[in-house]
């Protein structure tokens, strides 16, 4: 398995985001919420406030480090939920076929017909803002492609010799699915989840920006930009750095996912010269 430059750049950016989030309590110079000081508001970047301060005098650098925690939580949890839903539905639909397959297919098509951000918005409208609702909303919205991939992989794996051997040995359906089929489609599922993390982080930022996601004063990158909109004339750095953080972390997930896909995709690998 050869992994290119893109993969390693993506891995580097991802590790950077993880380190920022995990180490935030130790490396952040200030408190993200409590160290508000109106005397210090809208200070441009300097030696004390590396990325400047926001409208309430909070250190933007500190808030970005803590913001990584939220983005990572949203990215990882929502993709775990997505993958569980997508794999469970897709795998059982592909394996059992019949009316269940039709039902799952229909549901997937309906989900694909609703733009995912709109669906998340609707769920947020029902559940109200906050991190738990965000995790549910984003976890419920993006599983359709995972489901399709899981279904088609199951269909092709079902006819493989070792799966049929397991059937002949009288293994139960669930046992076959989890021991024979699931491990063999982890690659593409992992790729979908990695790419999905980027989408989830972008959606979280967008929802928080609209005031429907993480609520102030908690430091989400998206909600930091909501405040920045009013301040952009006076303090453009308040807008610049959180956006840059979103961009670089999403870029990281996307490059990582692309790199994984390229190394897994036999079509790409065998296309020599």
């Amino acid at each position: 398995m050869r992994l290119g430059f893109n993969f390693w750049l993506g891995a580097f950016l991802t590790v950077l985001v993880i380190l920022a989030g995990v180490l935030a309590p130790w490396i952040a110079p200030f408190d993200p919420v409590l160290d508000a000081d109106l005397m210090n508001s809208e200070m441009p970047p300097d030696a004390t406030f590396w990325f400047g301060t926001d409208g309430q005098g909070r250190d933007v650098y500190t808030r970005i480090l803590y913001g990584a925690q939220i983005s990572l939580t949203v990215g990882i949890v929502s993709q775990v939920i997505n993958s569980i839903i997508g794999v469970t539905l897709g795998m059982t639909a592909g394996y059992w076929g019949g009316w269940w397959d039709d039902l799952v297919n229909g549901l997937t098509n309906v989900m694909l017909a609703i733009p995912s951000l709109i669906f998340a918005l609707a769920v947020m409208a029902v559940l109200g803002p906050g991190l738990p609702s965000l995790l549910i909303a984003l976890g419920l919205t993006n599983w359709s492609w995972t489901c399709r991939i899981a279904r088609s992989s199951t269909l092709s794996l079902k006819s493989q010799g070792y799966v049929q051997a397991a059937q002949t040995l009288g293994y139960g359906d669930l046992r076959i699915m989890f021991t024979q089929i699931l491990p063999n489609m982890m690659g593409p599922i992992l790729v979908m989840a990695t790419l999905g993390m980027g989408t989830a982080v972008l959606s979280e930022a967008a929802l928080s920006f609209l005031g429907l996601g993480i609520q102030p004063p908690f430091p989400s990158w998206g909600s930091m930009l909501t405040d920045a909109r009013q301040l952009i004339q006076l303090a453009p750095w308040v807008a610049l750095f959180p956006g840059l953080a979103i961009f670089l972390s999403v870029l990281g997930f996307n490059l990582l996912g692309d790199g994984l896909r390229d190394s897994l995709d036999p079509h790409m690998r065998t296309r020599k010269i």
Partner: protein, 311 residues
């Protein structure tokens, strides 16, 4: 072709019904009552009597099944209900905003197509060139950008610093007001189109029939015009159709950012005040719109590719 068209159009209907059902279910399982939240401004407790009166007035005290039947019957008459807040028919609210939204979405997509497709084409014809590298780096960056952030930066640069363009609003509907939101909204589809066009063209260039074309003594330009373009178009058209979905979703954020009076900002505002009939209606219209576009794409697809009509 006519039968195919009709069949595709009729296939929309069940999807719309299921989506309507799904939306209804989502907004019915909501904990707490809408009426209560309508009065809840966080400053004082709502008057229980007021809540009860409003609940009855909005028909929210009736059993779920009955409400659903009413909802579906109304839908069949193109009645999307009445806004909790303004007491206007939802369909009128949406109709007022539809034009601006269409304008923005179409402008963004045109921008994405006009730049993204030729860029992907040129990149594929010269793989490994500077243009190719720049396009691919640009594409993966464009796909990772939070669009509203780009919008903020563009607004800062072109409206606030350079004063070339209005920073927000619909104005008198002039083209100048459209530029910033459309460019912002078009960036992601542009990146994806450039990427898929490149991949599609590269795929076609490796096909056997391209070798046949060369063996006929055709110049590179004619090979591209006569044989590559049409084949690559199939993939490009599909991408455009799929992209419209996320474009409509993103439009919600961009409309809000630029204070663009479309259905996206209507949706966000209604979510904020929990004006559920408007939220439901808007989402339904957005889904319908997306389905119509996808059907149109399928029809275009069938017009390009003779193999489709057979099936």
């Amino acid at each position: 072709m006519l039968r195919f068209t009709l069949r595709r159009i009729f296939q929309i209907i069940p999807t719309v019904i299921v989506v309507a059902l799904l939306i209804f279910v989502i907004f019915s399982v909501v904990p707490g009552s809408f009426a209560a939240s309508l009065f809840a401004d966080g400053k004082r407790a709502a008057d229980p009597q007021m809540i009860a009166r409003l609940t009855a007035e909005l028909g929210l005290d009736k059993p779920l099944m009955e409400r659903f039947v009413t909802y579906v019957t109304d839908l069949a008459h193109f009645d999307l209900g009445t806004s909790f807040r303004t007491r206007q028919p939802v369909i009128d609210l949406i109709a007022d905003r539809m034009g601006a939204s269409l304008q923005l979405a179409v402008a963004a997509m045109v921008f994405a197509i006009v730049i993204g497709v030729p860029l992907g084409f040129l990149a594929a014809l010269r793989p490994g060139s500077v243009l190719d590298t720049v396009t691919m780096v640009g594409a993966v960056s464009g796909l990772s950008l939070p669009q509203f952030w780009l919008g903020l930066l563009l607004m800062y640069l072109f409206a606030l610093q350079l004063n070339w363009l209005p920073s927000f609003g619909y104005g008198d509907g002039s083209f100048r007001n459209l530029i910033l939101p459309a460019v912002t909204l078009g960036v992601t589809p542009l990146a994806l189109l450039a990427r898929t066009t490149r991949a599609g063209v590269l795929d076609v260039l490796n096909a056997d029939f391209i070798r046949t074309a060369h063996s006929k003594g055709m110049s590179e330009a004619k090979v591209v015009r006569w044989h590559v373009a049409r084949n690559a178009l199939v993939l490009i058209v599909t991408t455009i159709g799929l992209q419209f979905g996320s474009l409509i979703g993103q439009a919600v954020v961009i409309e809000k950012l630029f204070a663009w009076p479309g259905i996206g900002s209507l949706l966000v505002d209604s979510v904020a005040i929990r004006d559920i009939p408007v939220v439901q209606g808007t989402i339904l219209v957005i889904v319908l719109w997306f389905l119509v576009i996808n059907t149109a794409v399928d029809l275009i697809y069938a017009a390009i590719d003779p193999r489709i009509k057979q099936g």
